[in-house]
């Protein structure tokens, strides 16, 4: 199988210019066109396939479903500096569904947080790219996640700190739909509304599946949007693979005052690879060499 080598993979920072409106040239672009974003989304999918294939384990399904969500966030929404991951005023992205680490790593590498070639070290001994995210080792990773249910609470703490410090950063947290089985998610949802944080946006990667099958069969979440509404959140629903809709929805969320916003993004698990789409087998299983070859062909 063909694996990317460090150096021959273009990174986003080569193909996207920094915003002319930015006060700081190092603050990442918000000017990528949808065509550029589509190309980048496809490249992220190739990286996810390649890196999990090389690692021989990992979670491709729930990484592929959120590709457009992260592409939109990192290319159009977040104010961040790949050259300074700890920049105090950065917008924060918190990956609560920590098993989608391959997607986050691919996105961070594309933005220039670390070399793209490092993606091939995923899950290896002494790699900075742990099986699930580890905030102590990976530049750009805000939270050590993987134990589901904890990210919304963490994000709420980050949002409250921003408010206490009169900082204007915004906090984005990505949850899985299956993750919303966890009671802590609803403790966090109740508290975020209670504390009236409007600098917090939760995105649910609503791909409809969890390890044991469809959510509706394993643990029914319906009526899902109404649950968030009842907990006091502003609720938006989008096609999670439609970049234009995502951009518009994130923009609108900035206008919501006095309450947090949840964006329920309807997605397809394994999106972009025919034999992975809607196939729970690829939740936590890497493609083999032959499957990698087929998948990369489909993603050309």
């Amino acid at each position: 199988m063909s694996l990317p080598e460090e150096g021959n993979l273009p990174s986003i920072s080569d193909s996207v210019t920094t915003s002319a409106n930015s006060v700081d040239a190092e603050v990442f672009s918000s000017s990528a066109s949808e065509a550029e974003m589509e190309a980048i989304a496809k490249r992220l999918r190739r990286y996810i396939i390649t890196m999990t294939g090389k690692a021989g384990s990992g979670h491709p399904g729930g990484s592929l479903s959120a590709v457009e969500i992260l592409t939109t966030l990192y290319l159009r929404v977040l104010r961040h500096k790949p050259s300074d991951p700890q920049w105090a005023d950065r917008d924060r992205f918190i990956l609560s569904k920590g098993h989608a680490a391959p997607l986050l790593y691919a996105t961070l590498a594309e933005c220039g947080y670390f070399p793209v070639g490092e993606l091939l070290t995923l899950r290896q001994m002494d790699s900075r790219l742990q099986g699930h995210t580890d905030r102590t080792v990976t530049p750009g990773v805000e939270m050590s996640a993987g134990a589901l249910g904890q990210g919304l609470s963490f994000a709420l703490g980050v949002a409250l700190a921003g408010r206490l410090n009169s900082q204007h950063y915004r906090v984005y947290v990505l949850l899985g739909d299956g993750e919303c089985d966890e009671g802590q998610v609803w403790e966090g949802a109740m508290a975020a509304a209670h504390f009236k944080v409007d600098n917090l946006v939760a995105i649910v990667d609503n791909n409809g599946q969890q390890i044991d099958g469809w959510n509706r069969d394993v643990m029914n979440l319906d009526p899902f949007p109404m649950k968030w509404q009842a907990f006091g959140w502003h609720v938006a629903e989008v096609d999670g693979h439609d970049l234009a809709q995502l951009i518009q929805t994130f923009d609108q969320a900035k206008l919501v005052k006095g309450q947090p916003t949840v964006i329920i993004a309807h997605t397809i698990k394994g999106k972009g690879v025919s034999f992975m789409e809607n196939n729970p087998d690829f939740h936590g299983k890497a493609p083999n060499a032959e499957e990698v070859k087929i998948a990369l062909k489909e993603l050309e």
Binding site: D134, R135, T136, E142, M143, S144, A145, G146, A147, G149, Q150, G151, L152, S153, F154, A155, L156, G157, V158, A159, L160, A161, G162, L164, N165, G183, Q184, E187, G188, M190, A191, H194, F195
Partner: protein, 312 residues
Amino acid sequence: MSQEVSLRETYGQTLVELGRENPDIVVLDADLSRSTMTKFFAREFPGRFFDCGIAEQNMVGIAAGLAASGKLPFVSTFAVFAPGHCFDQIRMSIAQPKLNVKLVTTHSGISVGEDGTSHHSIEDLALIGSLPGFTVIVPADAIETAQAVRVAAACYGPFYIRLCRPKLPLVYTEDYRFNLGKAVTMRQGNDATIIAIGIMVIAALEAAENLKREGIDCRVLNISTLKPIDEAAIIEAAAETGAIITAEEHLEHGGLGSIVAQVLARHQPVPMEFVAIKDTYAKSGNASELLERYGLTAKDIEQGVRSAIARK
């Protein structure tokens, strides 16, 4: 007996002092601020106090997010609920990333009394002590509590401070200075050493006094920093006195006794006895009745000393 002072009230008042000194200090509670005494801080700094309701897992996560953003969170509830209700949240959101969160719990052990088993925290030291990177402190009186809380605020990293419900007699004077990671020799002696924490320190001193009348000369150590443990003091006591008795208001497994035994097994094996709750849950009763029923009195320590010395 000297004056009895509440550790919880001292904690609450110390938080207020610290809050005046450091604007980054924030306090979180889970609907128990009237009992943990974080209410004092809430009253003076309402904008920096977060009552998270009866939801400890979320409280721990919020604290982690605040700490990751440069705040200095103190988190309080009853010891039985944290780590009990939120162990994995403490593990993944605080311990693994080594975040600067101070967990100060109250109503530890069985001296909570009448509330019974559901409120008796007898496993918390085993749970918290198992987490890499956590500093664990069990103060013996109000003076040490104030000092330990200040040290926790001044040192980076996750801390667990365990406070009891009852008022305790002072074992220190106002000039005492808590030294993190160092055992304090409360009384010199050569025949055996009682190593105690928390409410058992006063019982250990009483036991040593009683044993003196039998001609047994006991050393008493307060080893209030349970982790990292003062290995040198334990080894020295074992070498010089030849017998060690631990005393803690906790299950026998996984607390002070286990930690001390591990140090001695490696460096200086001597006869040991363990004054602790055996493999059981306690029931409702008043604090002194419970301490007697479950073997946590000066008399139990005295028996332990005699037994350990007999095996020297």
